[in-house]
């Protein structure tokens, strides 16, 4: 027994490495790879009567996915995810910069404080945003009382509230990679730039920004991908005009019972995702 375990541990044979990795790889194959493969296949199958699936190949689900009314939803999702990503970048970059350069002794605390909202159940945060943004909600009553507005603003169930919600949930995905790349930036480069007479702005645009570009790309991709698949934010903070692909997919699987069409939509989402990751891989090695 001891000899066998030692063989497993020491890794002198390739087989021992595979033996240690096998459970995890099998697990991922069973509960991740095969389900996704199954989903991709389902997208090419035909819908039978009463929500059943007929095993005959077809492209109709995909052609339906790019019909104008569905294409509109897809493009809207892309737009929302894009705007959210840019917003997160704009809001998150100064925060990451502060964490990395200015926070000093408070850094640990600030980093931990960044993670607490992230680990809070997103449902609960959505509920809070509903209280804040509602027609008779907190923000409106504050604004009314202060006399800035005469009538309550329509904040909830608008594109604004959806983008705000998405940005709220996914901003840690932007800040952490940015922070990581700023952390790795050698401080001497900045000093050299200052010594050579460059001002702060010039140093920022010529040295800091180019060197942390991989972090920017990573952050953008890590924010963009989950935004594309989100359906809870639009469900609770949005209205009929902010229907996103995630809502459509959820609807096909749980309400309309048109699984092949839902699977085709998910496949389109996956293709976009793989394209994004491929792009990320291209940028990553420069780090």
């Amino acid at each position: 027994m001891d000899a066998w375990l030692s063989w497993l541990i020491c890794g002198r044979s390739r087989k021992s490495s595979y033996a240690l990795l096998a459970p995890a790889v099998l697990w991922l194959a069973l509960f991740l790879i095969i389900p996704v493969a199954c989903l991709l296949e389902l997208g090419f199958l035909r819908l039978g009567p009463y929500g059943t699936v007929v095993f005959s190949l077809t492209l109709s689900n995909f052609s339906r996915a790019i019909e104008p009314r569905y294409l509109e939803i897809l493009l809207r999702t892309l737009g929302y995810a894009g705007i959210t990503t840019l917003l997160c970048l704009a809001l998150g970059f100064p925060a990451a910069y502060y964490l990395s350069f200015r926070a000093g002794r408070r850094r640990e605390l600030c980093l931990a404080a960044l993670m607490i909202p992230f680990w809070t159940s997103c449902l609960v945060a959505l509920y809070s945003w509903m209280i804040i943004l509602g027609r008779e909600g907190l923000l409106n009553s504050l604004l009314l009382r202060s006399g800035l507005i005469a009538h309550p603003l329509r904040l909830l169930n608008t594109p604004f509230s959806v983008v705000l919600g998405l940005a709220y949930f996914y901003i840690p995905f932007m800040v952490l990679p940015l922070y990581g790349s700023l952390e790795k930036l050698p401080r001497q480069y900045l000093e050299a730039s200052y010594d050579l007479g460059a001002g702060r702005a010039r140093t920022f645009f010529k040295v800091t920004l180019p060197l942390c570009l991989p972090g920017v790309v990573a952050g953008c991709i890590l924010t963009f991908i989950p935004c594309m698949g989100d359906f809870l934010t639009a469900e609770f903070l949005g209205g009929p005009r902010t229907y996103l692909v995630g809502n459509l997919i959820q609807n096909q699987f749980l309400m309309a019972q048109d699984w092949p069409f839902g699977a085709a939509l998910t496949s389109v989402l996956l293709i976009l995702l793989v394209a994004g990751l491929y792009f990320y891989q291209r940028v990553e090695p420069q780090r």
Binding site: L21, V36, L39, P94, V124, I171, I225, L254, A263, L273
Partner: protein, 274 residues
């Protein structure tokens, strides 16, 4: 800059603050302050369905964390400690795929697989899915620790003193890596406990996890009970995160102690037969 950071954190914490304040508000409709009350907390305590869903979520998270930790430990040991082998990069990339995948894809994918294979949806299928989602977290936490222990000569020392590789692993490496293993397990527990999207698609009829219960509470009417519940959850989350932080930061010091003790023990054992 400082003003911006204050505003940034205010944005992050506004919903949490609102939920905290309104959990004590004595009003059914959530808008105006009607006076202090603890009745929402009391109501939580009496809500049998809610408590049952909490129990389900805790059990689920325990099972998922156990599986994810075991699989993560084995895999990360091979990745961190074994000499290079073919497929290492691929395996390492595969282990981070669940992090990159939007949850809705995993949810509907698992749903279509299970229904295709006619696997009944129950507690165990959900636990397996949660373990898959949590696996990248445990694997990366443990792997980082094993890599940082790589330079230590303690295992070599133990083996010089006559320990087999397995003994060196069990007596030296495992105790030194334990804080990271526990921290990874805590992370996996949290991931499973908070998971909504995947559970939403593949929880069968009878399985109601806490997030699913919260979702249906939100769907079928506004109740301040959710605020009270959220505060309790937040408290638990903060406690878990603090525990994890302490484990990881305390690990360095205790690692040195443990190493001393291990070496001492090994030396004594080696001296005994003589």
């Amino acid at each position: 800059m400082s003003a911006y950071i204050a505003a940034f954190y205010a944005f992050l914490y506004a919903p949490l603050a609102v939920m905290f304040v309104f959990s004590f508000n004595d009003a059914r409709r959530n808008v105006a302050w009607k006076g202090f009350t603890l009745k929402w907390y009391a109501q939580l305590w009496r809500d049998g369905e809610l408590l049952r869903s909490l129990a389900t979520s805790l059990e689920l998270a325990l099972v998922a964390a156990a599986i994810a930790t075991l699989l993560g430990l084995l895999a990360s040991y091979a990745l961190a400690r074994h000499p290079k082998f073919r497929g290492r990069q691929g395996c390492s990339a595969l282990l981070s795929v669940p992090l990159m995948m939007p949850e809705i894809v995993m949810g509907v994918g698992l749903l279509s697989l299970f229904s295709r294979a006619r696997v009944p949806l129950n507690f165990w299928t959900l636990a397996c899915a949660h373990a898959m989602i949590a696996l990248p977290y445990t694997a990366s936490a443990i792997r980082a620790r094993l890599l940082s222990l790589k330079d230590s000569r303690l295992e070599d020392a133990a083996m010089d003193l006559g320990a087999t590789e397995w003994q060196a692993f069990r007596k030296i490496t495992l105790p030194l890596a334990r804080p990271a293993i526990v921290a990874g397990a805590l992370l996996a527990f949290t991931v499973s406990f908070e998971d909504f999207v995947t559970s939403f698609f593949i929880a069968g009829i009878g399985i109601v996890t806490l997030p699913i219960k919260i979702y249906s509470m939100m769907k079928f009417g506004v109740t301040p009970e959710i605020n009270a519940l959220a505060c309790c959850l937040l408290l638990a989350t903060v406690a878990l995160l603090a525990l994890r932080q302490r484990l990881l930061s305390g690990a360095q010091e205790r690692a040195a102690d443990a190493a001393d003790r291990a070496l001492e023990g090994a030396a004594r054992q080696a001296a005994e037969p003589a």
